[in-house]
């Protein structure tokens, strides 16, 4: 039997406000336990929530970015349950009327190409605190620093068809929330957390299978592994004649398996009702328009523009627009005043290859790259005008990266004498010397061994320490051997 996998994701993105969603306490990470818990956060009797407009603004920004409907009136509700790290005994969330409904996210699926993943909704809510079960002399420690941190829960439709696709969706969403500046995206610190709803059904079946919700997917790798495991488990269970039960499962990365947390029967009744402490959230059109006017160009249209304006191939354009900083680096380089019309495809290759490799090696972000976009553009211009070859350019880039000669491409080339040799007479002499010194290889070539030709080119290039124009070397060598 051919099985179809069906996945929907619920993503908790921590909004990047300085203070909490209903109190003035700081949201900074890694402070001493309970040092950032105000009277509101620890739910002292008599305190009341006051909504942080910054959180709403970020939700609106998200709604605009995914082309969803921003509800003019949404309602905060109480989700009631008891847990020691939930100070009020309820979480303030949005239930029947969320701040954003609908919208979609464009992704490039590894199997299906460009698709749109529909969103059900996105709603504002507060985070709970943390229970620390270890090392408290047999007791549980409670840290309420995180309690009241603003979250936007983004719920997708069950539109994803494989673990790989789910990961691409999650990565695209991760890039988007960072792009529009609503979330720092730090997964180690829990700023971006996903739960996956996974089910399988026979291929061609329209009805959805019984799903399981997998919690605790705090990395893309774990998400991939957990879904893979869960899909195998479900298929084996059904093929063995078993029956799926709807349940919540927890992924254990140490054992690479999912374990049942609770079944639907044990599911709590959260007794949602509108929070009487908070009037409905009213968002007027003027507020939305103000935010729309401040929205940055979004990654998807920007990628299309890179294809159109700079002839970058689509896959590269998608990569360049993964982060706003990378896209900005690329576009700044393309617009740098270097007196040449740079080739966009080459620039993209260099950024995604050489620049990116050096960033990874040094563990820095592109905005910290020692070679600025205009300097990088200068280097590319020198490749394009044949001052240096591509491989010499890598050497020049290293020198610029290290800050030699003020990081200036021309200065590095001049100081190191790396200008390409393009003088036909000079190259001809070098070729003659190589032919004279390597009669055996010449003989091999003439006996029909094509590889011998490359060997001769290599010898000529080595003689000039790579500075000879390789195209010219090839052409002259070919002519001499034929002659």
């Amino acid at each position: 039997m051919k099985w179809e996998v069906v996945i929907g994701l619920e993503t908790h993105t921590q909004l990047s406000t300085a203070s909490k969603i209903f109190s003035g306490a700081s949201t900074a990470f890694a402070a001493a336990p309970n040092s950032q818990a105000s009277a509101v956060d620890i739910a002292l009797p008599g305190v009341l929530p006051v909504l942080n407009k910054g959180a709403v603004e970020r939700a609106i920004r998200f709604g605009l970015a995914v082309d969803g409907t921003i509800n003019k009136r949404s309602v905060f509700a109480r989700k009631n349950y008891f847990y020691p790290d939930l100070p009020k005994g309820y979480q303030i969330s949005q239930y029947e009327i969320p701040v954003v409904r609908g919208g979609s996210i464009a992704i490039v699926s590894p199997t299906r190409g460009a698709i749109k993943v529909a969103l059900t909704r996105a709603h504002l809510e507060e985070d709970a605190g943390k229970s620390l079960h270890e090392d408290f002399r047999g007791m549980t420690g409670i840290d309420l620093n995180r309690a009241g941190t603003p979250l936007l829960e983004i719920v997708s439709e069950p539109d994803l068809r494989s673990s790989e696709e789910a990961v691409v969706y999650a990565k695209t969403l991760h890039a988007l929330v960072r792009w529009i500046g609503i979330c720092d995206g730090n997964m180690q610190e829990g700023s971006f957390r996903c739960d996956a709803n996974v089910s399988v059904r026979p291929g061609g079946e329209a009805k959805l299978g019984t799903r399981c919700e997998i919690k605790n997917l705090n990395s893309f790798r774990f998400m991939h592994q957990a879904i893979e495991f869960e899909v195998r488990r479900q298929i084996e269970l059904i093929e063995d004649g078993g029956k799926m039960v709807q349940e919540t499962r927890l992924y254990d990365p140490d054992r690479n398996e999912t374990r049942s947390m609770r079944s639907k029967e044990d599911a709590q009744d959260y007794r949602y009702f509108p929070d009487p402490d908070l009037p409905p959230l009213v968002i007027d059109g003027a507020w939305i328009e103000r935010i729309r006017a401040e929205m940055p160009e979004l990654p998807e249209p920007m990628a299309h523009r890179f294809v159109a304006d700079y002839s970058v191939p689509m896959p590269d354009a998608v990569q360049l627009t993964w982060s706003r900083e990378t896209a900005r680096y690329f576009e700044s380089a393309m617009q740098a005043p270097v007196g040449a019309h740079l080739n966009g495809k080459t620039a993209a290759n260099w950024i995604l290859g050489e620049i990116s490799a050096r960033l990874n090696r040094d563990g820095i972000e592109i905005e910290q790259a020692p070679v600025r976009p205009n300097e990088f553009a200068q280097l590319l211009a020198r490749v394009q005008d044949n001052t240096i070859s591509g491989s010499i350019a890598k050497e020049v880039l290293d020198a610029m990266w290290a800050g030699e000669n003020g990081g200036d491409a021309d200065a590095v080339i001049a100081a190191k004498g790396l200008q390409q040799i393009s003088d036909a007479g000079a190259i001809e002499r070098i070729v003659d010397d190589v032919l004279a010194a390597n009669p055996a290889i010449v003989a091999e070539y003439q006996a029909g061994k094509e590889r011998a030709f490359n060997s001769l080119v290599g010898k000529a290039m080595a003689t000039t320490k790579g500075k000879a124009n390789p195209a010219q070397v090839s052409a002259i060598l070919k002519r001499k051997l034929a002659g």
Binding site: A43, P45, P87, G89, Y272, F273, D277
Partner: protein, 491 residues
Amino acid sequence: MITSSVAELSRALNARRLSSVELTGALLDRIDAANRRLNAFLTVDREGALAQARTADARIAAGTSSALTGIPLAHKDVIMTEGLRTTCGSRMLENFVAPYSAYVAERLAHAGMVLVGKTNMDEFAMGSSNENSYFGPVRNPWNTTCVAGGSSGGSAAAVAARLVPAATGTDTGGSIRQPAALSGISGLKPTYGVCSRYGLVAFASSLDTPGALGQTAEDCALLLNAMAGHDVRDSTSLDRPKEDYTRLLSANAGAKPLAGVRIGLPREYFGAGTESDIANAIEAAIAGFRSLGATTVELSLPNVEYSLPVYYVISPAEASSNLARFDGVRYGHRAAKYDDLMDMYKKTRAEGFGAEVKRRILVGTYVLSHGYYDAYYLKAQQVRRLIADDFQRAYRSCDVIVGPTSPTTAFCLGDNTDDPVKMYLNDIFTIASNLTGTPAISIPCGFDGKGLPIGLQIQGNAFAEAQVLNVAHRYQQMTDWHRRIPAEFAP
């Protein structure tokens, strides 16, 4: 002198005929003498009060005093007072000392009032007799075998026995007005949102309203002037221009001060179920209003009969959620011994809450449960809207609505404790103002055959406090019910 009203004491203090230290000291002595009989105070802060009184006297001497400077005050023990225990009448918060003060407490302190202590109340403000206090019932100064009403019973008894000239209360379904009526004083519940709820231990958030208890409507107005105001810490607090709630009281309006005022008389407030002494006293009061120039309009509030059931769905629902924070984890009572987390929750809450609080948590949890929400909570909210519509229609033909505050006068301790529904019926006339968020006052209008006070309720539309107070004040200028002092506590 020390048993005078706030307005009179204010004049005496500002004329330097009396100092706040003298007044406060004398009242503290009265509290010491009377509290064992009444159980009106849970906490008395003699040292703090005298220190505040000295500060107040200095302010008066310096000429920077307000109308309330130096006047002693008690807060209902649901109102957070920084550094001074706030119990909410519950074992759960028996030793809870708040690290901050409620907005209304801040405002009254800022005006220079002298906080002498915290008053007894039904646990978490749930009750109509003050018998639900963990610290024992409050007794009625007019007859100490009777209840003082609830839930602000301590505040009402303290003012009635002239232990303080004024006190704060909170009113969720009549908790200021009903004890004011049963104790023979004036009690004002303002429009919802006029006074911030910040620092009130929440019972039912959409209904809870802080207000004032005093001898007279004028005193309530003076307190409201200080208590009202926008507070950014309460999202339901209203941002309105400042108002002088005494503005209509001082005008010389001649022999017919209520000329032009239309008094609505809903037929639903004048049926069976109200004691005849009360019905007669209300009729007499209405005649009095006519003699002051008011006209009366008979009208109907067809949905008002559903107030009680609506209230007993919405208020427990909100309470069940509001009281979830009392879980033994961070503050308040925690059971001494328990096996695990669930056991800790169960024992803590079983021990910390009294029977009525548990009853309402159960009811509230039930009406919010999956499958019942639509039938109970949602339906109740819809009917609440219908009731509000009734009142809006009524206020097109009248300015205020008048009737009894409570269907009975003070009952004996223990009389109603076996029958919660009978107890709930005490609030039948007061609840609608909470459901509609509109202001109302209860003022004394006579005594029944047993010598127990009778309360008259005057309701108004949203923000009509000044008119409600004016009608009450004009009545009090013509009568002396509010001047009577229970014999046992006469100075």
